[in-house]
Subunit: 336 residues, 2 copies
DNA sequence: CAGCGACAATGAACCGTTTCCACGTCTATT
DNA sequence: AATAGACGTGGAAACGGTTCATTGTCGCTG
């Protein structure tokens, strides 16, 4: 099976290779008639241009790199999947890489992608991104974990949390605990900010206790569990009647903690999570959570890289609103 | 910033481009002395060979495609992540694609990868793979869902299930229900086979009821739930005292069903899942499950594509053993 | 000591596109 | 009618590596 090249197409169509190339790239300066004739031959021969040759000359690889801390995290896997879809719609493909939240590995991956001549990178930075120097000259869009000094795309974490906390307030809760993310994580701090603002805004009795009910934890299940244990290990009339967790995994860990302590959900404790991962609708009972618009974020990131949307200016990032998804882990508080 | 090319390196090192190329590719016929000198210059200049140019001439892209039905499925996302790691160890990168279990999309993705000149493809076929023609001349390794007629790599589903069922038998269960996967799915049938064999092997009273306690379902959570409802909706002395589910998601759905019916786990019902996804250790109570060696599978698949391992001969696939992971959803049955 | 093979290194051809420039034709302008 | 510009196409250079045939050097052998 001799592989067919652009010259074969040109010969059979009786045109020059340049013309075939122009047809291939939808260059406007080709007669309609020629265009159809050439495309005909192309289909007939099943000709597919060699991407290496193409990219070597044109400096365009139609490849997008995406670097995330952990593909096992459902939030990121959904992000990757959505990005893949969006990219495919434009004839682009995705190279995935996992940094395992390890700065050195992350830098290495970015270097690899750079040398691969990808057309752009979607980056969810590791938590210690401070050491990270992004290469110039290559479009990079930072997603989810915004880096100060760089612009990016994320959901509006702080307002999202406020949404959830206000929901709890409206149900009548006063002692609302908060499981925060890692101290140095940007989105974690945004979420904490949302909580503190909502509590402050509520004023009165609520306000005073706000800051005493915050537990810091990693975003994972196990950390959520111990944070939950910490928050719930006090006298009944002092412990929170509701807990807002900064991630769904934390929330689920916290549910586990409550279960182990014999605290019924939602009768004696309301729980709200954050993220809206598929898992959140599979728990028993179903988790109330604040949902991030992952698909929108992914699509926007791809659009930016393909120059369909302007790159958000430095320090001026694009934020998408979150949405409250009511489950079965929330109810009005019991009287003390 | 003028980009440095191989000629620059050659000039500065006082050698020909051919020599630099051979240094780059660890070709043996270069003096040790020259090799070190050239590598020195390479590092000094920060030279990185252009992969397009490279692959155009050499026909090697150092790219591996991986096509899976759904990246949101934790089993597959872990598979991809493991494959990425294994590939990176060899200087290869991964292009991910999602088929959404849609045969046409799948064929299209494979075509895309072929035209991208990837060095190999890791494929988890969609469920209706019968219409699928794999391109010749491109190494493809089929993973997890083996295709009759093609060889591949997977875990030993049937023996894995047997492991779980035998565990239940040893606990004293007789009426063991089974939630099967989709009828046309190869691994689903392998798992069913494992169940039937284990039941048959148990003999006696157990044997007779075996086949009456099988419910067919998709692999997802919701299907597991309705299958659970179906199996449990009978008189107490007729309903199963244990259920083996063909996926963890099914198992969790089934837990939900039991919960809704007021059947305590594991007191009145033992449940065992299959897959060993991270989620399985987060349920309340923790799910007992049969764990697939995902990392081994991924590493083996990559090794095959890189010609480090022989391609398993047609019809003679490589199977990795599974492992039982004891959780809290299993116990001895209550007397009727 | 001549001849030969093995080995290192060179230099140019080559991979398959895109892109640039030149050329001929056709229309619009003066 | 002559000239300018616009337009469509052909032809060849260019992209940045790898590979292959070739040349030049050794060390060995007969």
């Amino acid at each position: 099976m001799p592989k067919v090249g652009i010259r074969d197409v040109a010969r059979l169509a009786g045109v020059s290779t340049g013309t075939v190339s122009r047809v291939l790239n939808d260059h406007p300066s080709v007669t309609q008639e020629l265009r159809t004739r050439v495309s005909g031959i192309i289909n007939e021969l099943g000709y597919m241009p060699d991407p290496s040759a193409r990219s070597m000359r044109s400096k365009v690889s139609r490849l997008i790199g995406i670097v995330i801390p952990d593909l096992t995290n459902p939030f990121f896997s959904e992000l990757v999947q959505s990005a893949e879809q969006a990219a495919a719609d434009h004839g682009y493909n995705i190279i995935v890489m996992t940094s395992f939240d390890h700065a050195a590995k992350e830098a290495d991956r970015i270097r690899q992608l750079t040398s691969r001549k990808v057309d752009g990178i979607i980056l969810v930075p590791s938590n210690d991104f401070h050491t990270l120097k992004l290469p110039k000259g290559l479009p990079i869009v930072v997603v989810d974990r915004l880096m100060p000094g760089y612009s990016g795309i994320a959901s509006d974490h702080s307002n999202g949390v406020r949404l959830g906390v206000e929901y709890l307030l409206k149900l009548g809760h006063c002692r609302i605990g908060f499981i925060s993310g890692p101290k140095h994580s940007v989105p974690a701090n945004d979420r904490l900010k949302g909580y503190l603002e909502a509590m402050e805004h509520a004023g009165g009795a609520v306000q005073k206790i706000g800051s005493t009910l915050v537990a810091e934890a990693a975003f994972d299940y196990e950390s959520g569990r111990s944070a939950g244990n910490y928050l719930l290990a006090r006298a009944r009339n002092e412990r929170p009647t509701a807990i807002f967790a900064s991630s769904d995994q934390q929330a689920i860990g916290c549910m586990r903690a409550a279960y182990d302590l014999g605290i019924p959900i939602p009768a004696a404790l309301s729980i709200v999570g954050f993220d809206g991962i598929p898992l959140s609708s599979m728990t028993i009972p179903r988790l109330t959570t604040v949902k991030q618009p992952i698909q929108k974020i992914a699509a926007a990131a791809v659009a930016v890289l393909l120059n369909e949307q302007p790159v958000p200016s430095i320090g001026n990032s694009t934020l998408f609103p979150c949405e409250l998804s009511e489950g079965e882990t929330t109810a009005a508080p019991q009287p003390d």
